[in-house]
C-alpha cells in the first residue's frame, strides 16, 4: 500500500512495516497518523519503521513514532527502526529514542531476524 509517496505500509503475520519517504514533519504527520490508524491493526505487536528514504524528521515525526512505540509496547511487541542515518538519526538521538526503547537495525533483514528469533 503506497500513500501519496509519503509512506508505505506492509503487513504480515509477525510485524507491520511502515516505510516513510521524504519528509516526516508537521506537513505530513497528520495525514500519516490517519493512514496508520486505519491500516495498522490495533493489536499490532512488532512494528518496523523504515527510514531509509527519509530526508528530514522533525518533532512531529518524533511524536508519531512515540505513538507507534506505545502501540507496540501495549501489545507486547517492540518498535524496530531501520536505516536511521543522518538528520533523522540525529533527531532521534536528541530526544532520547535510545536502544532501551527501540531496536535499531541496519536493514530489514536484520529486523526480520530479530523478530522471528523472538517468536
Amino acid at each position: 500500500m503506497n500513500i501519496g509517496h509519503k509512506l508505505e505500509i506492509e503487513l504480515n503475520d509477525a510485524f507491520s512495516t511502515i516505510r516513510f519517504f521524504g519528509y516526516v514533519d508537521a506537513a505530513t504527520t497528520e495525514d500519516a497518523r490517519g493512514v496508520i490508524a486505519a491500516k495498522i491493526p490495533e493489536n499490532s505487536g512488532n512494528i518496523v519503521i523504515d527510514l531509509a528514504q527519509v530526508e528530514f524528521l522533525d518533532s512531529h515525526g518524533v511524536g508519531l513514532f512515540v505513538s507507534l512505540l506505545k502501540k507496540a509496547h501495549k501489545n507486547g511487541g517492540r518498535l524496530f527502526i531501520i536505516s536511521a542515518e543522518g538528520q533523522p538519526a540525529s533527531v532521534l538521538n536528541i530526544v532520547g529514542f535510545n536502544n532501551t526503547l527501540v531496536t535499531y537495525c541496519e536493514n530489514m533483514q536484520q529486523a526480520k531476524g530479530l523478530i522471528t528469533g523472538r517468536r
Binding site: A26, S59, V66, K70, V95
Partner: protein, 531 residues
C-alpha cells in the same frame, strides 16, 4: 506565499548582511520544505557540512511549526535569516503573530522533557530540540521590538570546516612515478598533494606554492633529497617548512649526516597509509604548536601594550577601567586625550572571530590611535565619529571588518557629552537607580557620510556613568534582555566601588556561560562635584 530570497555579498556589508534571507507573507506547514531547501542550499554554498545543515533545518522547522500552530493571530509577515561564520550558524525568525507567553517557563519544561527522555508524550519535543542544539536560543516578543516583530534567534556551533583552499598542502617528491602515485592516493582525501618527479621542480615551485610539509624521496638522480633539503635551507621559509624523508634505503641511522639536516621524520618504504598519515599529522601538529607558542607570546606583548586604560581622573571626575582580553577574536581599545578644558576618550570594539581578527584589531588600533591624536583636540565627539566613519567608508582594508565606537567628553563642571556609533548605550547610576542613556548612532562606515548626535548630560555629585563593550554586556544576556538585567544588577549594588561589583558579577556570569570569546571592557566615571 510570496517569497523574496536574497543572498547578498557586497564588500563591507558582507559581515553584516552576507546571509540568507527569506521573507514571506504568512506561513503554512507546506511552505517549510521550500524554506528548508533554500537554507540547505545557502549553507552548502558556504561549505557547511551536512550534519550542521540538518540541525539548522531542524531549528528553523521547529520555530516555524510553532508560529504556524499556536498563535491566536496568525503571522502575516515572517522573516527568516541565517548567517554563517567560521564557528557558528546564526538563525533568526521574526514574525508578527501573537507572541508566545511564558517562554522561559516553556524552555524549562522542554529541557525537563529532554532530560527525562521518551515517557509517552507525543508532543513537546520541538523546543527541546532547539535548546539541545542551541542552548542560548532566545525569544523576544514584539512588544519589546521597534518593528513590532517577535524575534526568535538561535546559534548553532559548528566545527571549523576545512575548505579545499584551506587544506594543508603537501609537496610529494619521488623520481619513481608508481611510488609517487601510491603515496598521493594515500593522502589526497585529506591533503592537497602536489607531486614532483624532480626535486629541482619542487624547489622552483616552493616560493609560489608555499607547502605546509615536504615529503621527499632520498635517492634521486640529479638533485637528491639531501641536496633538496640543503637548497631549501637557503631560501625564505624553506628552513621552517617541515620536511620528511620517505626512502627505500635504510633509516636515517644509516646516514648520520641526515640527522644534522633538521628533518622532521624519516620513513622507510613501503609505508602504510595509516603510518604515513600519522606521521604527517604529528609533524603538522608540532609545527602548529611552535607557531602557536610564537603567536601567543606576540599576543601577550601587544595586548599589554594596547591594554585599555585611562588615567585616574580629570578634575572632579574619577575613572576606573576593567578589561578582559581574549587571545582570538576582536579587540577592545580606549584612546584618550586631555586638555585644560576637557577630557576626551573613545571606547572601541573591533569585532571578529579567530586569530586573524585579533591581529586585524591590532592594526585597527594603530590606525585609530593616529587618527584620534590628530583630531581629538580639534573635533567634538560627534564630529570625530563622523570623520572616523568617513575614513572607514573610504578605506577598502578597514571596510572588511566591523567596529563599534563611543566617544565621550568630560567637562570640569560635571557635563558629559557622548556620541555613539553602534555601541551599547552608557548607563547612569544615580541615587541607587540606574537608567540607560539613549545615545545611538550607525556603525562607522555603514553609509558614506553618517551624522552622529552628541548628547549632553549634566551630572550631579555622586553620579556614576558606565561605558561598556559588547563582550561585557552579553554576559548579562537573559534571553535578549541584557540591558534590563544589567540595570537590575547596578541597582542591587550595595554601595562601594561599582566597577569591582559589576566586574565580579561579569566574571561569575561569563564563567557560568563559558562565554569568553570576546574582549570585555568597562569604564566607570564618577563625578565628585565642584571642588
Amino acid at each position: 506565499m510570496q517569497t523574496e530570497h536574497t543572498q547578498k555579498n557586497q564588500g563591507r556589508r558582507q559581515l553584516a548582511t552576507d546571509g540568507f534571507s527569506h521573507v514571506s507573507h504568512g506561513i503554512a506547514f507546506e511552505d517549510m520544505t521550500l524554506v528548508r531547501n533554500e537554507l540547505a542550499e545557502f549553507l552548502r554554498l558556504r561549505g557547511v557540512g551536512g550534519e550542521y545543515i540538518g540541525n539548522a533545518q531542524l531549528i528553523i522547522t521547529e520555530i516555524l511549526s510553532n508560529i504556524v500552530k499556536h498563535p491566536e493571530k496568525k503571522a502575516s509577515r515572517v522573516e527568516i535569516g541565517a548567517h554563517v561564520t567560521d564557528t557558528e550558524i546564526s538563525l533568526s525568525v521574526s514574525d508578527d503573530s501573537t507572541p508566545f507567553a511564558n517562554f522561559d517557563a516553556k524552555c524549562e519544561k522542554a529541557l525537563d522533557v529532554l532530560h527525562t527522555g521518551i515517557t509517552g508524550a507525543e508532543t513537546g519535543y520541538g523546543l527541546g530540540c532547539i535548546l539541545a542544539l542551541s542552548p542560548t536560543a532566545c525569544y523576544v516578543t514584539k512588544d519589546n521590538d521597534p518593528d513590532n516583530l517577535n524575534r526568535f534567534t538561535a546559534a548553532l556551533q559548528i566545527a571549523p570546516q576545512v575548505k579545499p583552499e584551506m587544506r594543508k598542502k603537501i609537496f610529494l617528491i619521488d623520481d619513481d612515478p608508481v611510488s609517487l602515485h601510491i603515496h598521493q592516493a594515500m593522502l589526497k582525501d585529506v591533503y592537497t598533494v602536489v607531486s614532483f618527479e624532480k626535486a629541482q621542480d619542487a624547489l622552483k615551485a616552493f616560493a609560489g606554492e608555499r607547502p605546509d610539509v615536504i615529503i621527499s624521496d632520498l635517492v634521486m638522480p640529479d638533485m637528491d633529497g639531501i641536496a633538496l633539503r640543503k637548497a631549501l635551507a637557503g631560501i625564505e621559509n624553506g628552513n621552517t617548512t617541515p620536511f620528511i624523508f620517505l626512502s627505500g634505503r635504510g633509516t636515517n641511522e644509516s646516514n648520520p649526516y641526515i640527522s644534522t639536516l633538521g628533518v622532521d621524520d624519516f620513513l622507510c618504504k613501503p609505508v602504510s597509509a595509516v603510518r604515513l598519515r600519522t606521521v604527517l599529522s604529528r609533524v603538522l601538529n608540532r609545527s602548529h604548536q611552535i607557531r602557536d607558542a610564537v603567536e601567543s607570546r606576540f599576543h601577550q606583548d601587544i595586548t599589554e601594550l594596547l591594554k585599555p586604560s585611562l588615567p585616574g581622573g580629570f578634575g572632579s571626575w574619577r575613572f576606573t577601567t576593567r578589561h578582559r582580553p581574549v587571545e582570538a577574536g576582536g579587540g577592545d581599545f580606549i584612546l584618550h586625550q586631555q586638555t585644560e578644558a576637557s577630557f576626551m576618550g573613545v571606547l572601541i570594539d573591533v569585532m571578529g572571530h579567530g586569530r586573524q581578527a585579533k591581529f586585524f584589531s591590532y592594526v585597527y588600533a594603530g590606525y585609530l590611535r593616529s587618527l584620534f591624536q590628530m583630531y581629538a583636540g580639534t573635533l567634538d565627539a560627534s564630529h570625530f565619529l563622523r570623520y572616523l566613519s568617513q575614513s572607514v567608508a573610504g578605506d577598502p582594508l578597514l571596510e572588511t571588518t566591523i567596529m563599534t565606537c563611543q566617544c565621550f567628553q568630560f567637562l570640569p563642571e560635571g557635563i558629559l557629552k557622548v556620541a555613539s556609533a553602534g555601541h551599547p548605550c552608557p548607563i547612569l547610576a544615580r541615587n541607587g537607580k540606574a537608567e540607560v542613556l539613549d545615545v545611538k548612532g550607525p556603525l562607522p562606515g555603514l553609509v558614506g557620510d553618517s551624522l552622529y548626535d552628541m548628547k549632553s548630560f549634566q551630572m550631579r555629585p555622586g553620579d556614576r556613568i558606565l561605558f561598556m563593550t559588547d563582550g561585557f554586556l552579553e554576559a548579562f544576556d537573559r534571553r535578549g534582555h541584557a540591558a534590563e538585567a544589567l540595570l537590575s544588577c547596578i541597582e542591587d549594588c550595595p554601595g562601594g566601588a561599582l566597577d569591582a561589583y559589576l566586574w565580579n558579577k561579569f566574571e561569575t556570569k561569563s564563567e557560568k556561560q563559558r562565554n569568553n570569546k570576546d574582549d570585555a571592557t568597562i569604564i566607570v566615571a564618577e563625578y565628585g562635584g565642584t571642588p
